[in-house]
Amino acid sequence: MLIINHLTKHYKGSSKGISDLSLHVRPGDIYAFIGHNGAGKTTTLKCIAGIHDYETGEIRIGGRNLRENPLACKQVTAYIPDNPDLYEYLTGIQYLNFIADIFKVSAEGRKERIKKYGDEFEITASLGDLISSYSHGMKQKLAIISAMLHEPKLLILDEPFVGLDPKAAVVLKGMMRKLCDSGGAIFFSTHVLEVAEKLCNKVAMVKDGRLIASGSMEEVVEQGRTLESIFMEVVNDVGTD
């Protein structure tokens, strides 16, 4: 579903970025991407989402090269940034219809999905209000619904649980599992290691732009230990090398 080969991206005038990162997210995977602040998680996700260009390497989504077929790749991908920056002067329903128009989602399809996800996140009654009146959590819910409108095969999420109330977090986890059960895949960054350990079947750890561990959760987290202890150990080990 998502193949990253030797991805390298650095910002001008900064040592921050990612170096020679390779990953393979298969259909059905819920893949956690963890690392400290400034490790390169968001940069990687933005490269996959097509926001940032990269110096070397290759990103393939659904078998297609992102550089050569950016629009085809985006048609099967949904990206939700860590901060839901939406058009404040539109109402929730106007924003969803705007996104559905971009993806050319049929009138019936959008109506059904807006109702379904709106009810699940308990936001249907507020869809007629201006986005400027929404809380951070409500904006996050709206961003998630807008991402699901075109039924993506690959979900790229940057800190998706930040700002969500516990019930909405449960709904989102359910949606993530359902997407993967139907052959989709999810690649997301998080600082909540307990969630990653319980929800994901694969995990990748990044430090200073370099991949320091990756694989299935069973491979990475040895028996009797937690992802948190492994993460601290691996990060500190690499730091002292």
Binding site: Y79, I102, L130
Partner: protein, 253 residues
């Protein structure tokens, strides 16, 4: 692109920008004949105080040309207000990060730029047409527009000047990060061209001359005299658009 155009329209209405600009251009459209109409009355009212200072006022003759002269004085101010209000059209989206969800949802950057350009060119065209139409209507009612020569050529040339300025704004919006940079770039480029037009040899080729529609109305110039200026403005608009597409495509959002 249609979806983005619709979004722009809804946002313009909600923020009140469309109504403010419409009000400004309608007011300018009414002010042009109104000022012409009020001039004799104003002169008469001031005649006594002017007489005290030794100035003698005679009867002032006003016609459609007086109103059109006012139109060509007011329309650059209208254009400046338009540029001031729309200068943040792109940069507000960079600052708030609102383009990111759109770009990542399969809408090409080219489509975003094209939609914004169509919207800005269209807005200028509608507002300019409203102002011109109101002045034309009142002039026809009070006087006779026939006194003004090449009326529609003069109007079209001033409109082209506006299109050229909007193209500059789009280019500087594609390369800048803030609306102040956009204003500085657009204003600086327009001022530079205006200053260069002081030299007669350059004036024959620069868009600044397109603002002098009154020369056409007074038949001091013919429409053909502006062909080089139109061609130069057209080429610059094209160049601005090509460069804008290239820069916007590489822009880090």
């Amino acid at each position: 692109m249609n979806a983005f155009l619709k979004k722009e329209w809804m946002e313009w209405n909600r923020t009140g920008r469309s109504w403010i600009l419409m009000l400004v251009f309608v007011l300018f459209g009414i002010m042009n004949p109104a000022l012409a109409k009020l001039t004799p009355w104003l002169m008469e009212a001031l005649s006594d105080s002017l007489a005290d200072t030794g100035l003698v006022t005679t009867a002032v003759q006003v016609d459609a040309m007086t109103s059109w002269a006012q139109f060509y004085k007011n329309i650059p101010i209208g254009l400046i207000i338009f540029i001031l209000i729309v200068s943040g059209n792109f940069t507000a989206e960079y600052e708030k990060g609102t383009l990111i969800p759109v770009i990542t949802k399969g809408l090409s950057r080219w489509s975003v730029l094209a939609a914004k350009a169509v919207f800005l060119y269209g807005s200028w065209t509608v507002l300019y047409a409203v102002c011109f139409g109101i002045t034309y209507g009142y002039n026809a009612y009070f006087w006779d527009n026939g006194i003004a020569g090449n009326l529609f050529f003069a109007a079209a040339y001033t409109w082209v000047f506006g299109i050229w300025t909007v193209a500059l704004l789009i280019f500087f919006s594609a390369v800048s990060k803030s609306s102040s940079q956009v204003l500085l770039g657009t204003g600086g480029a327009a001022l530079g061209v205006y200053l260069l037009s002081v030299f007669p040899k350059l004036d024959a080729f620069l868009p600044a001359r397109l603002l002098r529609g009154l020369d056409l109305l007074q038949r001091a110039k013919s429409p053909g005299d502006y062909h080089a200026n139109i061609a130069a403005a057209g080429l610059m608009v094209l160049l601005c658009m090509v460069l804008s597409v290239g820069c916007f495509d590489r822009k880090q959002l």
